[in-house]
């Protein structure tokens, strides 16, 4: 799990930003790296490496970058050869990509455009209800959208595998502190798998799952877009997006289930590589993305009140209120708060990079 949240800087960013930007969030990198933790755990603890072997790009730069990222995430990469490091890096860049698309988490202009993109396919790609997913069929429709989004990502994996090995690498953008947007080579199949894993893992943070089915089936799909834009009614639109579920440290049980699903999806890579994964994908959906129907508030979401209770501990009407204690208050009249908060943030920051951590942690 990387670093600790740097909430002070995010608060500062909003405190210093125009008032109209108060409704926007920069989200994930200021929080625990749940996606990265789960992916790294699947690879390093469960040895669930994707099928195939990439050709390493020439030059030292990608090796340096992999080393930097391993260090940043506190992972002891000494047991990994250059090829494994490249695969790990490609998966990590891929699993981060749907949230940032190569832009900074503190790029408020991009965050405004991306994080509040109300299009149905964008919501489904993050395992959320779209605005059209209303009424009793809303959960089923949303989950079908999630499956379609995941299938599209997996088809992209298969297409990446279909290239000759030396053509499987592709260039994508990543945002690096102080450098900005940088184009880097990644192994296409692993990068695409990372994007697919993002959809899957979001179905654990953006859905209520069923205890009866060992968290393998979905009871309800949460809704971000309707609470954000103000036209929200729980009976019609479903439960609101939850900040507490977004924090994977809130429930080890849920995180373990997400890890198991991640390992399962990575095991599909052999079939995707062969180009014969259609049945395996459908079977996977049956194992992890099936709806337990007829669950609602009236029946305690089929006995899953504890997850609903966790989800509603900290709901978020919009992505900024996901993050900020300042949400809902009037912003200070000038940038003074920003300077004060920078001082607080610096006081909270860990010491210099000379520190190294090890991972996985017990």
């Amino acid at each position: 799990m990387i670093g600790h949240p740097f909430g002070g800087l995010l608060v500062m960013a909003v405190a210093l930003s125009p008032a109209s930007a108060l409704a926007y969030s920069t989200a994930s990198a200021f929080r625990e790296g749940c996606h990265e933790t789960i992916v790294s755990g699947a690879l390093l603890k469960h040895d669930a490496w994707p099928a195939g072997t990439p050709e390493l790009p020439e030059g030292q730069r990608v090796r340096d970058l992999a080393e930097y990222l391993l260090d940043t995430y506190g992972i002891d990469g000494r047991s990994l050869d250059d090829t494994r490091r490249f695969v790990w890096m490609s998966l990590i860049v891929g699993v981060r990509d749907p949230d940032g698309e190569g832009y900074s988490v503190a790029d408020l202009e991009h965050a405004r455009a991306h994080r509040l993109d109300p299009r149905d396919e964008t919501q489904h790609a993050h395992a959320l209800r779209a605005s059209v997913d209303d009424g009793p069929e809303g959960d089923a429709n949303a989950l079908e959208g999630v499956r379609q989004a995941l299938r599209a990502e997996l088809q992209a994996v298969a297409r990446a595998y279909a290239h000759a090995p030396r053509e499987q690498n592709e260039s994508v953008f990543i945002y690096l502190d102080f450098y900005g947007r940088v184009s880097i080579p990644v192994w296409g199949p692993a990068f695409r798998l990372g994007r697919a894993l993002h959809v899957l893992q979001d179905s654990f943070s953006h859905c209520i799952r069923s205890d009866e089915y060992e968290l393998r089936r979905v009871v309800a799909v949460l809704n971000l877009v309707d609470p954000t834009f103000g036209d929200y009614d729980e009976t019609r639109d479903g439960l609101p997006h939850s900040r507490s579920l977004d924090d994977c440290s809130q429930s080890e049980e849920l995180q373990r289930a997400a890890m198991a699903a991640t390992v399962d999806l990575l095991s599909l890579s052999a079939a995707l590589r062969r180009g014969q994964a259609s049945e395996e994908i459908s079977s996977f959906f049956g194992r992890w993305l099936q709806l337990q129907p007829s669950c609602s508030r009236t029946n305690g979401f089929c006995g899953n009140e504890r997850w609903v209770e966790l989800a509603t501990q900290d709901t978020a009407a919009n992505p900024v209120s996901c993050q900020l204690t300042l949400a809902g208050r009037r912003r200070p009249p000038n940038g003074l708060w920003g300077w004060l908060l920078l001082a607080a943030a610096m006081a909270r920051a860990p010491k210099f990079r000379a520190r190294r951590r090890t991972w996985p942690r017990e």
Binding site: I2, D177, G180, R181, P350
Partner: protein, 185 residues
């Protein structure tokens, strides 16, 4: 707007106070300056809105009446936010520059050019990489505390810290606020 009004008031007070001081130095003075600086925001498209940095610096050099030249040495530390919260050693910057004092020496404009040296192993480059450093301070205020001691405020500087200019460039554009104490030797 509030900041602008405050700056004007401070400027007038500073100039008034400074003007009231006897301008006794007809020869060369040797001021030494110790400084702390801080920057928060960037303004570059497709970049993080944050360019958090802070650091400390020293300036020293001869001054003739209202003109001076100086050597500038500083350590600029950076806040990383993209993957984790961290403070990295940033860059050590060495420069030479010139300054002009006016309004009774209550206001200073300065420009420094020099080298920026990467002080830590960054994502793509190793410590020791050498690039460019530019520091422009259009208007700074100076408040004499005693005959030999002054307090200074540079409310907004334009500082380019670019320790890597080859390959993928590492260029930090910083809008700093700096405060300093200056002793005339």
């Amino acid at each position: 707007m509030q900041h602008a009004a405050l700056a004007i008031l401070l400027s007038l007070w500073s100039a008034e106070t400074a003007c009231a001081m006897p301008n006794s130095e007809s020869g060369i003075a040797w001021p030494v300056q110790g400084e702390l600086h801080l920057s928060v925001l960037s303004d570059l498209a497709d970049r993080s809105a944050l360019a958090g940095s802070f650091g400390y610096a020293a300036r020293f050099g001869p001054r003739w009446a209202n003109w001076g030249i100086f050597a500038h040495v500083e350590h600029d530390l950076w806040l990383a936010t993209e993957f984790e919260s961290d403070v990295v050693a940033g860059a050590v910057n060495l420069a030479i520059g010139g300054e002009h004092l006016y309004y009774g020496r209550g206001v200073r404009t300065s420009l420094a050019l020099g080298a920026s040296i990467l002080a830590y192993d960054a994502a793509l480059d190793k410590a020791g990489n050498v690039g460019l450093f530019v520091d422009f301070r259009p208007v700074g205020l100076r408040f004499p505390l005693t005959h030999a001691l002054s307090l200074g405020l540079d409310p907004l500087t334009l500082t380019i810290v670019a320790p890597v200019l080859t390959g993928v460039a590492l260029v930090q554009v910083e809008y700093r606020t700096a405060v300093y104490l200056e002793v005339s030797l």
